[in-house]
């Protein structure tokens, strides 16, 4: 093994978090290598062209959580990143009506009144509650989670910070916070609103990406997780990365290479090499070995430790906790190339809200039934979708006049039931097609002519997402965002500071605090911990006012 195979740090996986860690380490002067199993970088933040002329955001499709502190630290706009907010959204009903979520506040109030006058002011109070909770939680995103069971100085200091912030809330809001973190989005919305359609529209954020139903405890937090981001300071706003979500990964990759880093694609980590409880490097699928005293895994905690680490290098209780970690695939996706913009007969022609997120689930009961199917190992017969046509805003995604549609679908199980047996193997080409047909049937509720406009479609099941991206069971968050595996319990109790039982080995993906979404916070927080341990005082993004 030559000197050129030795690095100061190796990152396993070129997802957006791995690349973020890599950027910070390289900018602190370390010689850093990123290895990636796919021939492209980005993990679940990718833009790929599968049909000539069209670009898909194949997995993640909208951007809000990406921390602005990190974008600024790494100067990502200089590397081509541009995030463009989109306006509003709508939920369409089977009887030809719709609820439009206007970005214009006055229009939104009028629209709510059209459906239920009592809900107009309720919406403002709902927003106030959510924003208040967001303000409370946002500062914790770029900090390591304090462990209340530890008596280390760092943990105590962080704990004190948390207590201070919580104290600032006052007793009533603190109670509300605890309720919020543990209750269901269904219950929360029922407390605020009368109208079923409005509740259904708002409930989507509470279930996207989870193996939970709208009445499962913990889904109110999931809504918060989708609201706590921002676009240019507008909390809760979402946008598109110009050129698709891969533009984020590309900017991070370019930033990393500009800082002197090296990326190898096409062969992933086969094994983390451990000697005497310390990490010494990685062995790749292609047989190559690279050495480094620091190795960070961007893979989820299960994949990292159950598939690529020797069990005897790990304490048994740790392995058991990792095995217990909930990481359930619950969503699929259709990426569609369209010959023209489909018709929306219910909506006024050219309505702004058609440029936002579109849905067709009318009530919480309908959403809960969709979840019931999933529990039985079937995709929802009447699925929920989060559908957008980014090419209306981003001119780079499709030829002029043509469009690209992204349809996130819930629920779809990882282990599909067939003849009484649930297995990933049951996702045959036939099953995938039938799944897509179910989704198209539902889209027809919104766009009756959708099928005639389709030029190409990519169908992605949880199984596909696991196979391609490497996310266990195709869970988009690298693990459920439930209270039992958040904060100091993420990924497993005792290991919330990005370190692992193996010295020099770190976990930098969304399995770590603060969790999933294209946030880059786990990657940046991990870099901060690593640099701290190396005695390098390089500044890593901290929440700024």
């Amino acid at each position: 093994m030559g000197q050129h195979d030795r690095y100061d740090a190796i990152i396993a996986g070129a997802g957006h978090n791995g690349l973020t860690t890599a950027c910070y380490l390289a900018r602190a002067g370390l010689k850093v290598l990123v290895v990636e199993k796919n021939d492209w970088i980005g993990g679940a933040a990718v833009s790929r062209s599968l049909h000539e002329g069209w670009t898909y955001s194949n997995c993640s499709y909208v951007c809000s959580l990406l921390r602005r502190e990190i974008v600024r630290d790494l100067d990502l706009p200089k590397f081509g990143l541009q995030v463009i907010p989109y306006e509003g959204g709508a939920t369409f009903t089977a009887n030809g009506d719709y609820f439009a979520y206007h970005s214009d506040h006055d229009a939104l109030r009028r629209e709510i009144a059209r459906h239920e006058p009592r809900d107009v002011d309720a919406y403002d109070r709902f927003s106030q509650t959510v924003i208040r909770q967001c303000r409370f939680i946002r500062p914790f995103l770029l900090r390591s989670a304090p462990d209340p069971t530890s008596f280390k100085i760092n943990d105590l200091q962080e704990l004190l910070y948390l207590v201070k912030r919580a104290h600032g809330l006052g007793p009533r809001e603190l109670a509300e916070t605890l309720r919020f973190w543990t209750m269901s989005i269904g219950d929360f919305l029922d407390e605020h609103f009368e109208n079923d359609l409005i509740k259904a529209h708002l409930a989507g954020s509470g279930i996207i990406g989870t193996g939970l139903g709208v009445y499962s405890p913990g889904t109110a937090y999931v809504l918060l997780h989708h609201y706590m981001g921002d676009v240019d300071g507008a909390i809760g706003a979402w946008g598109f990365a110009r050129g698709g979500m891969g533009a984020i990964s590309k900017a991070l990759g370019d930033c990393f290479e500009a800082a002197g880093g090296t990326i190898f694609t096409g062969s992933g980590v086969e094994r983390f090499l451990v000697e005497g409880g310390k990490i010494i490097g990685v062995a790749l699928d292609n047989g190559d070995e690279y050495r480094a005293p620091i190795v960070a895994s961007n893979m989820d905690v299960k994949r990292t430790f159950l598939e690529h680490t020797d069990a005897k290098d790990l304490p048994e209780d740790f392995t058991r906790a990792v095995k217990r970690f909930k990481i359930r695939g619950s969503s699929g996706k259709l990426n569609i190339a369209l010959d023209a913009l489909p018709d929306f007969p219910a909506a006024p022609k050219g309505a702004n809200f058609l440029r936002g997120d579109l849905h067709a689930s009318e009530s919480l009961a309908e959403l809960e039934r969709a979840y019931d199917d999933w529990k039985e190992g079937r995709w929802s017969a009447n699925p929920y979708f989060d559908m957008l046509i980014p090419s209306q805003i981003d001119p780079t995604m499709a030829p002029p006049g043509k469009h690209m549609m992204t349809v996130f679908v819930q629920y779809a199980p990882y282990a599909l039931e067939k003849d009484g047996v649930c297995s990933g193997e049951n996702w045959t080409e036939e099953a995938k097609k039938a799944f897509a047909e179910t989704v198209f049937d539902k889209i027809e509720q919104v766009c009756p002519d959708i099928r005639s406009k389709v030029v190409h479609a990519e169908i992605r099941t949880p199984r596909d997402i696991e196979r391609e991206v490497g996310l266990t069971e195709g869970n988009i968050f690298q693990g459920e965002l439930t209270f039992d595996q958040l904060l100091f319990n993420r990924p497993v109790p005792g290991y919330a500071n990005y370190a692992t039982p193996i010295e020099g080995m770190y976990l930098v993906g969304s399995s770590a605090h603060p969790g999933g979404g294209v946030m880059a916070a786990p990657g940046a927080n991990a870099a901060r911990e690593i640099l701290k341990k190396l005695g390098k005082g390089a500044a890593v993004a901290a929440e700024a006012a």
Binding site: P77, L81, D104, V231, D232, A234, D394, P395, T396, A545
Partner: protein, 401 residues
């Protein structure tokens, strides 16, 4: 020649209050925000729909803005070049016909009267576009020269088509010949239609100039092509954001045109505004030359600089301190830049700050947090380059998006 201001049937009466440009009815129809401003006496949209989305259309798709209210003066005749060259600080002999030049002009003390763009149609044919009324000054400056000065402010109208898909819109509207234009090029594409590759955005963009009564037709022609390219009509608020990103200065905001300021000492020289490169001392005499020569040796009194400001709150009007104690200047234009993802500003600092001294500078930013004022002292860094730079702005032929 038609004049937008005057009812020719009743020349004795001039309208009181704001008047309409030719495309006002179009704007009024699409305006949901109903936010109108006063641009040189004309009704001009501040925001048509949402400032945020208008801003992003400039940086992501394309936008249409009616720039007809701009002051426009035609200078023609055998001495046109000599006369204008004596007026502005840059050397116009280097500006060939078919080119546009950004220029400043000063009084005898070297204080900037205004800045603007000079369009050179032919050897002896120029048009000056600027924010301030300049007819009188031009007539004074023309004294003794064989030139004719005509105020075209109300007879020539213009549309500014800006953004990465702006060329695609032109092409779709049958004006693809503009593709050969390099930045600051100017060409007559059709009878009565001049197109220049200019703008106030720092991005790819064009300005189209037609007689006043032809503007509506031009608007409709471009507007018909908006769909596939996401073109939006915009107001001036969004434009103000992008011009700060591009590092362009605005009269009456970042500097006070010396002829309009009643207080003494408000004038600034091109050197103080950061435009020494546009002062060509070697071209012979021009207005303000002696004073500017002197300042070149003694140094400026002020420095207008670009600042990268800490934190995320826009620093409009913030005071700038050295070592957190000594007040050395203030922000003249400050925004959060959604494209650069930085808190950016133009600021005037007392020399030597912003010049030789750029360390340990701080901005005092005031933030109103729902009724409680928070005062934040944040670090600032002086930047030499514009905050927005994208090679699509300079690529020729232009890209589709």
């Amino acid at each position: 020649m038609m004049d937008g201001r005057i009812e020719t049937r009743d020349v004795a009466a001039v309208p009181v209050g704001l008047i309409e440009t030719p495309v006002f009815s179009r704007l009024d129809q699409i305006s949901t925000a109903k936010q109108w401003g006063n641009w040189a006496g004309y009704i001009s949209p501040l925001v048509l729909d949402t400032m945020e989305f208008e801003y992003f259309a400039i940086r992501n798709q394309s936008t249409l803005l009616d720039v007809s209210p701009m002051h426009k003066y035609r200078v023609t005749g055998p001495d046109a070049e000599t006369m204008l060259n004596r007026m502005v600080t840059r050397d116009l002999r280097k500006v060939a016909p078919g080119r546009v030049a950004y220029a400043m002009w000063c009084d005898e003390e070297g204080m900037v009267i205004d800045d603007g763009t000079l369009f050179r149609f032919a050897e002896n044919d120029f048009r000056l576009c600027c924010q301030e009324s300049m007819h009188g000054w031009l007539l004074d400056a023309a004294w003794g020269f064989d030139v004719e000065v005509i105020d075209e402010s109300h007879s020539v109208a213009g549309l500014s088509l800006q953004g990465p898909t702006s060329f695609s819109v032109l092409q779709a509207a049958g004006l693809g010949a503009a593709g050969s234009l390099k930045p600051f090029d100017l060409v007559k594409l059709e009878p009565d239609l001049w197109v220049s590759r200019t703008g106030f955005t720092g991005d790819l963009g064009y300005e189209l100039w037609v007689p006043w009564d032809r503007l509506t037709k031009l608007w409709d022609r471009l507007w018909a092509q908006r769909a596939p390219w996401g073109m939006r009509a915009i107001g001036t608020h969004a434009l103000d954001m992008v011009r700060i990103e591009a590092g362009f200065v605005a009269a009456k905001v970042d500097f006070q045109p010396v002829l309009t300021a009643s207080r003494l000492g408000r004038g600034r020289t091109p050197i103080e505004l950061g435009f020494e490169r546009l002062v060509h001392f070697d071209k012979g005499h021009f207005n303000g030359r002696r004073a500017l020569l002197k300042q070149r040796d003694t140094g400026p009194r002020y420095n207008l600089v670009r600042l990268d400001i800490g934190g995320f709150k826009p620093a409009q009007d913030a005071l700038i301190y050295h070592r957190k104690r000594r007040e050395v200047g203030h922000v003249t234009s400050g925004i959060w830049s959604p494209t650069a993802k930085r808190n950016i500003a133009l600021a005037e600092l007392r020399a030597p700050f912003g010049g030789e001294k750029t360390d340990d500078l701080w901005a005092e930013v005031y933030v109103n947090e729902e009724g409680r004022w928070d005062k934040r002292l944040v670090p600032v860094t002086v930047q030499t380059k514009p905050f927005f730079r994208n090679d699509r702005a300079r690529a020729t032929p232009p890209r589709a998006f």
